[in-house]
Amino acid sequence: MSDSHGHDSLPGLAHQFDSYEQQRESASLGMWAFIVQEVMFFGGLFVTYLVYRREYAAAFAAGSHHLDVKLGAFNTAVLIASSLTMALAVRAAQLGKKKPLIGFLVGTILLGSVFLGVKTVEYSHKWHEHHVPGPHFAFESTGVHGEPIDPHNAQIFFSLYFAMTGLHALHMIVGIAILLWLIFHAARGRFTPDNYNYVEGTGLYWHFVDIIWIFLFPLLYLIGRH
């Protein structure tokens, strides 16, 4: 992949670009376009959720009541903190400070892992309570205030709970994998103030995943709670 354009290729400048600025702007626009399509992806789930929440309000409230608000709130705080460490990592890359960059990336991974660990605990609780949709699903027929509900509607709630938080968790796992890759390259001095697009792009992605959770938490965990 040689550059035959009469100017020497600059380090870290891909051959199709003419300048670091063009490369950075392209990477940024590309990541934003990617985020937009992720919004549409989760958006389909959110629309489905909203339709059924309106239709089966009591069953959804009952299902939500069986989610652990404390763990959910803790996880929210953990994710917000991880966005902070991520933002600090981007800043470090921007300033060319390798050690803080790696440190903050590691911090982000740790916090993300804590989030996933807590989710694993929550999922196992759901499994033992027979709230996982499928052949072993069982849910009582009374709602939060003792009103009768249809357990099938509660199953829809839990289906959406697992689909939404599961998809979110999948995105976090991918994010952590990318962070590991970033650390690998950061250690090799790959990122400079001229060229830290991958770090910035990952930051954007991580913040997006965080924002999705910030919507998921109240919609799933806080129905009917005051």
Binding site: M1, S4, H5, G6, A14, H15, Q16, D18, Q22, E25, S26, L29, G30, A33, F34, V36, Q37, E38, M40, F41, F42, G43, G44, L45, V47, T48, V51, Y52, E55, Y56, P133, G134, P135, D150, H152, N153, Q155, I156, S159, L160, A163, L167
Partner: protein
């Protein structure tokens, strides 16, 4: 490639040899050819399915295939043609090849992502191919619930996964094009100096990025429901089967504009080149592409007029569907006006262009009829709809695709194809197409439902006409396959500008060098300017070295 001594490594085809130089390429032109190969295979398979359908329907009784087999055949025809041919089609082959060249860039913004897109597309295609070889799917390409979630005994999940994966490739291609068009234009190439082909692909890419994720999540929910009986679309659980339809069509309607907008872009290029003048109403055509992309997202429920949506909702979607027809009409009129005071040459690409404009007009106007509520109740889910969408997708998109292939083949391959056979094949395609699909409008209004394996005998005559047309159409499609391949070995070498057209792609040799241009061009005027030269190559102009 000539049979003489090894040619000097001057262009992207002979820059490197060997399978791995193709499979690991980052050159957008090679990736375009990789796509050309795979989508041609899928088109052939989809065509085989179509052959079986028309053979079966030549007689009223269901006597060729078992009903269950027939259902799988028409489903796979739809899945293969839509997801593996029409949606990737023009953007992946012609868009990939031409967009960087048309904007004076060395490649797309993300060449490695481009290659990854091809691999992802092929992987998705392999899932669908596996499903096909293991009996296919029988739900219809629309996968309506609860049939697809709770009743079908076929490989719905595998096929759905294939659709999901190819959708991801579509998103990445769209993303790549958007960034490329925004950031990689040559100096002086402002938005309103871009070729309309680029505008069309820009609009298409917006739809790909915004719409495709919705079908991705829909297919994912479908698969999860089927695997775990979640009940999201199952009425026995309180689920809503019509919700699936809303989610499905929210993408699948804009998807038809993914299929047709690039063909409109090709049409613009062909009309400008073969009338040798700029497109009349350039800005109107450019903005119409964007308008189609935006409005296309607002009309999905016109597929649900008889599914029980409220009459008021139906009214809203009917009006919006009328609106989306307006920008298409604007384009058709502008293309027609372009011919006035043109210098028109009746070569093969122009024949396809002329066919496109007529057939797309019929297809579009029958779409307006379908958007008319009182008419739709009667013709929904009949052959009238089948005829309509084949007019726009085959009469529109495939004519555009073939026209584009014929127009740019000399640039892509460096060879000329025989004019006589290509014009003959265009005529055969046009005749075969109309004979196949026009009778279906009549069948639809008479009441023949779609996806029917057998039908009342009074409809046989029209069905036989349609099947006869299909056999002619098949001949028309096979011919280019033969002479394009022939031309690669025996065709005359093509000059840089065989048509005498204006555009950056004609300023570089046929085939182009890997880096497209030896130096970045500078653009000083509008597109399609046949009165003066608007592309400057400072070094070349200074040294007056002929690259042709």
């Amino acid at each position: 490639m000539s049979a003489e001594a090894v040619s000097p490594r001057t262009n992207y085809l002979n820059a490197e040899y060997g399978v791995s130089s193709w499979l690991f390429t980052r050159d957008h032109k090679r990736i375009a050819l990789l796509y050309l190969g795979t989508i041609t295979v899928f088109f052939a398979l989809g065509g085989l399915m179509a052959t079986l359908i028309r053979l079966e329907l030549a007689t009223p009784a269901g006597d060729l295939l078992q009903p269950d087999t027939y259902n799988r055949v028409f489903t796979m025809h739809g899945v293969l043609m839509i997801f593996l041919f029409l949606i990737p089609g023009i953007p992946a082959v012609l868009g990939n090849f031409l967009i960087p060249i048309m904007i004076g860039a060395k490649d797309l913004a993300f060449p490695k992502l481009n290659l990854a897109s091809w691999y992802i597309f092929t992987a998705g295609g392999l899932f669908i191919l596996w499903s096909l070889l293991n009996g296919g799917v029988d739900t219809g390409w629309t996968f309506y619930t609860p049939y697809s979630t709770s009743f079908s005994n076929t490989h719905v999940i595998a096929t759905g996964l294939g659709v999901f994966i190819t959708g991801f490739a579509s998103i990445l291609t769209g993303l790549n094009f958007i960034v490329t068009i925004h950031r990689m234009r040559a100096p002086g190439l402002t938005w309103f100096r871009l070729p309309l082909f680029v505008w069309a692909h820009y609009a298409t890419s917006i739809i790909q990025v915004l719409g495709t994720p919705v079908i991705a999540i829909t297919v994912l929910l479908l698969a999860l429901e089927r695997m775990f009986h979640l009940g999201i679309f199952d009425p026995a659980y309180g689920g809503d089967p019509v919700l699936f339809q809303h989610l499905f069509w929210f993408y699948s309607h804009p998807a038809v504009y993914i299929m047709v907008l690039p063909a409109m872009g090709v049409a613009s290029e062909i009309f400008a080149a073969f009338a040798r003048k700029r497109i009349f109403g350039y800005r109107f055509v450019a903005f119409s592409s964007l308008a189609i992309a935006v409005l296309g997202f607002l009309v999905w429920a016109h597929h649900l007029f008889v599914a029980g949506i409220s009459v008021y909702a139906a009214t809203v979607f009917s009006v919006l569907s009328m609106l989306v027809a307006v920008p298409s009409a604007i384009k058709v009129f502008n293309w027609t006006a372009t011919l006035y005071e043109g210098s028109i040459s009746w070569e093969t690409p122009m024949l396809y262009g002329l066919g496109f404009i007529g057939l797309f007009t019929i297809g579009g106007l029958t779409g307006v009829m379908l958007a008319t509520l009182g008419i739709d109740v009667h013709v929904h889910d009949t052959y009238f709809v089948v005829a309509h969408f084949h007019y726009v997708m085959v009469g529109g998109t495939i004519m555009g695709y073939l026209g584009g292939l014929h127009y740019w083949w000399p640039k892509i391959s460096g060879k000329l194809y025989p004019a006589f056979w290509s014009k003959l094949s265009a005529l055969i395609v046009f005749i075969g197409f109309n004979l196949t699909f026009f009778p279906q409008f009549l069948l639809g209004y008479l009441g023949m439902p779609r996806r029917y394996h057998s039908y009342p005998p009074e409809w046989q005559v029209l069905n036989v006409l349609s099947s006869a047309g299909a056999s002619i159409l098949a001949v028309g499609y096979l011919m280019p396959l033969v002479y394009f391949v022939w031309s690669m070995r025996y065709g005359k070498p093509a000059p840089a500008n065989p048509w005498g057209a204006v555009g950056l792609e004609w300023e570089t040799p046929s085939p182009p060098p890997t880096e497209n241009f030896p130096e970045t061009p500078v653009v000083v005027g509008e597109a399609y300017d046949y009165t003066q030269r608007n592309y400057r190559f400072p070094l070349r102009d200074r040294h007056e070295v002929a690259n042709v």
